[in-house]
Symmetry: C2
Subunit: 679 residues, 2 copies
């Protein structure tokens, strides 16, 4: 009996550190300052702007340190919407050029507080890397989310504008806390309906909330909107009726939302309408809209993600389409370019358009939602993926022409600089489906604010604010996060393999994928090009010559099988199975070990997480544990599917020290998941 009581006590003790947690708080877990403590310090602001008031409010509620004075200084234009913080033991002074700068400073101070950093002697100046730090929602008006894996859209259109979900403010606050100041509310595959007067009023409901957090609203627009919504005879950008319709519509928008940001346009791509439908160029289409938006300081983000079924390598098409138009785009058009030449793969080389457009404004588009990275089932920390593109040297303007410096205004003076990423946010309680997917939202925001931050530092901040400030805990979880993206590449498509996903839903492996009469550029075999000789897409001069789109320095490296980094090898080269890799292994063996490594890495992630059970609340522990199980099973699925499939070409044994497949290729081929683009 004594024994049982002791055991009971033991259990109660072990679980005492656990409390209910659903992840809804994200990284914003400040606890209010005590009245006692608040008495001893003051938080003042010299501005009555709602954003400045919000800054003051956050600090008054949560700041546990010395007094703070918030000041706007219209002379400090160099700060943009950044801030300057100086301070000592008794008092901190925050200055900013914009009210939003004060708000960002407030969150900066709270972040220092929540991550146990010193605040007694501060001398900080932060100027954001990009002017426009933008989320792209692929949310449809029926509340499905294309490539969304965290439930339905958070925009409750039926209730808007009358009912405002408390989520809208929580969303705005979370974004502001990491510097995001722009949001494209709807899917790039846009319904014209979003431009209806009814929806513009709903949108006003949202933008009124967002404005207090310094966030501007943008819209994706359907290029056929004039014809569909306005009844014009066509949507030709040179048709005066069409132009008139747009002019009136823009006027209407700004009458409802005076600080409206502008349009995002996916035109003539994957079935979307565009200027080419009328024999006009992308430039003509974009410039028409830009001209109308210009008086309002509105912008056009024009997507470069265009490709068509043709004999030309898909990876080359955006470049071929846009480079000839270079110099023709208006000043308030920014070409929005996906980080890689294909489509948000686990790993891609940088898009050759970066730097190649010498006289056009460019911006990067990332994907936070994990369309090609295990949805919200796989833990994949994306900061290293984002950094990989941002830090890549294009050599477009000589050494040091990184994608970041080409797009942030450093190398090429620009009107407004911008960066965008497809959001992973839905109405799931924890916002992003996977608790660790919150880190990708966080990391994107932090990098859009300062692209020089290290992935490690961002991870540390996020872990400390989201889970625990314990140093060993942070170290363990950071290690897991930092491994995770390489793990995903390894178990999905190492060595430069790409787009061998199952058709349509892009979740599992389908390297054998083929559809009678389907577009080759939507078929996995198009991308891996496996045959009995080898595997990989020859994009050198002997192949598609996509390599020629890069600057000579880059082309020389990627185009030379001896110089090309392993991680891009099969992206640029068709490599024989027997080819000797830098490791000394044959390509086939190396491929096998990479897949196996991916599986091992996920299993190690499971071990790391399980060890932390007593340091995480029960709900989030169990939910992440459960997702890691799925990831571990999926990793084996990927490994078996890819190795067994490629083995039918390589005819080589899987190295015998590797854990053997547990699936039959024929069984895996039968798997047809009933998954939609969205959930």
């Amino acid at each position: 009996m004594m024994k049982i009581r002791l055991l009971l006590l033991f259990f109660i003790f072990s679980f005492s550190c656990l409390y209910a947690e659903d992840g809804s708080k994200l990284w914003l877990r400040y606890t209010p300052v005590s009245k006692e403590m608040a008495k001893n310090r003051s938080i003042t602001a010299d501005a009555k702007n709602p954003v400045a008031v919000q800054a003051q409010h956050e600090l008054a509620t949560f700041w546990k340190g010395q007094s703070i004075d918030l000041k706007l200084d219209k002379k400090l234009t160099h700060l943009k919407d950044g801030f300057k913080i100086t301070g000592h033991r008794d008092r901190i002074k925050v200055t900013a050029h914009e009210p939003a700068g004060l708000l960002y400073a407030a969150y900066h101070l709270l972040q220092l507080q929540e991550t146990d950093q010193q605040v007694l002697n501060l001398n900080v100046e932060e100027i954001p890397s990009f002017d426009i730090r933008m989320l792209n929602h692929w949310d449809n008006l029926d509340r499905t989310v294309e490539r969304g894996y965290a439930g339905y859209s958070i925009w409750q259109w039926d209730d808007l504008p009358k009912l405002l979900s408390p989520r809208y403010e929580a969303y705005a606050r979370a974004n502001a806390s990491i510097g995001i100041n722009a949001t494209v509310i709807n899917n790039v595959n846009a319904s014209p309906q979003i431009l209806s007067s009814e929806y513009l009023l709903k949108l006003k409901g949202l933008s009124d909330v967002f404005r207090r957090y310094g966030i501007k609203v943008y819209l994706s627009v359907n290029f056929s909107s004039p014809k569909i919504l306005g009844g014009t005879s066509d949507s030709d950008p040179l048709n005066p009726q069409v132009i008139l319709w747009w002019r009136n519509k823009v006027k209407e928008i700004y009458s409802v939302i005076p600080d409206f940001g502008g349009f995002l346009v996916k035109a003539n791509s994957e079935g979307q309408p565009g200027p080419q439908d009328y024999g006009r160029t992308h430039a003509q289409g974009a410039n028409m809209l830009a001209a109308i938006l210009k008086p309002y300081q509105g912008l056009v983000m024009w997507r470069a993600f265009v490709y068509n079924p043709s004999t030309e390598d898909r990876a080359k098409q955006a470049y071929q389409e846009f480079v000839p138009l270079d110099g023709q785009f208006s000043d308030n058009v920014i070409i929005q370019i996906k980080n890689g030449p294909i489509d948000f793969q686990p790993r891609e080389p940088f898009n050759a358009l970066f730097g190649a457009l010498k006289k056009s404004h460019e911006m990067v588009e990332f994907q936070i939602t994990q369309e090609y990275l295990g949805f919200s089932n796989h833990l994949v920390y994306l900061a290293p993926l984002f950094k990989e593109t941002l830090d890549r040297d294009t050599y477009a303007d000589g050494k040091g022409s990184t994608v970041a410096r080409l797009t942030d205004g450093t190398l090429r003076p620009a009107g407004k600089t911008a960066i965008a990423a497809v959001a992973n946010i839905g109405d799931d309680t924890n916002w992003t489906g996977h608790h660790f997917a919150q880190a990708n939202w966080y990391a994107y925001g932090r990098l859009s604010w300062n692209h020089q931050l290290a992935s490690e530092q961002i991870a540390e901040e996020w872990i400390a604010m989201t889970f625990s400030r314990d140093k060993q805990f942070i170290a363990a979880v950071k290690e897991m996060m930092m491994t995770s993206r390489e793990a995903a590449v390894n178990y999905m498509m190492p060595l430069g393999l790409h787009h061998i996903f199952a058709f349509d839903h892009h979740y599992g492996p389908e390297p054998w994928g083929d559809q009678k009469g389907g577009r080759p550029d939507w078929m996995p075999w198009y991308y891996h090009q496996a045959d009995t000789i080898g595997v990989g897409f020859d994009r050198t001069a002997s192949g598609s010559n996509a390599i020629s789109q890069y600057s000579p320095h880059v082309a020389n490296i990627y185009g030379d099988i001896l110089l090309c980094p392993d991680q891009y090898l099969l992206w640029f080269h068709h490599v024989p199975w027997h080819y000797t890799m830098k490791s000394g292994l044959s390509l086939w063996d190396e491929l096998c070990y990479q897949y196996d490594l991916g599986v091992k890495q996920v299993r190690d992630m499971q071990k790391v997480w399980d060890r932390l059970e007593n340091q995480v609340d029960q709900q989030r522990f169990a939910e992440v544990q459960s997702k890691l199980k799925i990831q571990a099973k999926d990793a084996v699925w990927w490994k078996d599917a890819c190795l067994l499939y490629f083995q039918t070409y390589s005819k080589r044994p899987i190295p015998y020290d590797i854990e053997r497949p547990v699936h039959e290729l024929e069984d895996l081929k039968k798997i047809k998941l009933n998954m939609k683009h969205h959930n």
Copy 2:
């Protein structure tokens, strides 16, 4: 082009050693001797008995060595149906007391030839360990096979006796080649119909084939046959009408099958009728049949596998039922006792009945078909399991009272000694579903012939005759086979756990298994007794005291938690989770490592097999490889299910260096396989 041709040549060469193989030949792959070679030697026989002729025929067809003379010698009674072989470079002399002895000698010589052993100087005397070496078929008359996993029954009742499948002779020859000389043709859950005149004539068709290979036919009989088939008022063994019916029926049987072996009876067990239905004892029931069979030298095998739903430990019931009857059974009754006290589990201690019946004839019943060992999906070499029981010292008649010596006539003079095993044979092309399950049929035969053979030697013989004589190949496959049973115990139920199988079909794990209103002794919780304190069935004096059924020496060891071998620990003891094992680990940790070891062992088996790809024909290689994949997946399933379930009691973490679960307990609980007893 040159390159492609070279590659083609390479492929053709690599596959040149592979040929189509379906496993139908079992271990009988002798190739006929050339005419040239046959000319230079003679095979003579001094007997015209069909069995002796068969012996002569086998040698004449396949023997590639010197001349052989086969002789019967009626004086050599000590040989029983064994043989003596003496010989030198030019001539071999085989003598036997029975014609079957000549046939066994022929297969012995062919085995020496096929396993590359010397035959130039022979001096061999082999006397079988048991007189009756028996297979029990659990085949139903509708051709389903209870607990059969190799297709339908090989007995094609509709076609018998007119059409004789060539499989009957192949079956008889395979059995004779390993010394099996008796077969119970039908399920112990017997249909009375088997005793109908129609079926006896069908049976004659089979027995006529088997006789040429020295094999006697036995029948399982339903104790209610007189009433059901003969229309008697009941089946009371003391009812003169009943006795008369049996007498006439036995007379009829012997008129059709003069060398009929006798009856196997499952009575008053799991719903089968028996003498207790009329207030008679097992002894009265058995003796009635024995008296009728005695004039024909017929035998009664009476099964001790009886238990009833009661508060008494199921493991004790057979002992309690039969020991009080000791001394009452007729001389031609043999009590057929399953190797363990429960039911063919992956590991059981020996059945306490062995030796406890001092004045009754006893025989062991093994199970070759893998009811509790992964069906025909898992590679589990059973010779070590058989040996484990045979070699176990019961101390019933003092030290050295092994189960083998108690039942083979060494320690206790017996009329006829016997051994039985439930067959794993079906109409699958490869006979046993899994190519390696053939080894269990082989091993059982070899051990019934000579229970002192080592498992390793039997494996070597079987591998050499079934796959390859290559020494490295044999060593690798033998290692895999020798590990396999421990692997299965480890991933299914280590440390003495038992019967935590899914209800009814006994394939997967279901330690949580429970059925409202179901018999407790058919529920896994009855056997594992897990609670927050610990796990295991207390069968010591403080529990069910099943331990008291063993001789004091054995009871002292198994009953003492400090002395009890780990492999039986949870069979006999309820052990606290924190209990320190011999390894120094806690019980919980030890359990975790055992399950994990099981998974690793199966993965290692996969590696061994895959390495042998070029040394095995393609079909058998691929089929075994595929089964090993299932086994590897199942092992993880077992590990996850049992550890996650027991963890709900132990409340302890799975040691962190162990590969983490990939399943959710709640998902596993939902698995309901639609499997029948038979296929």
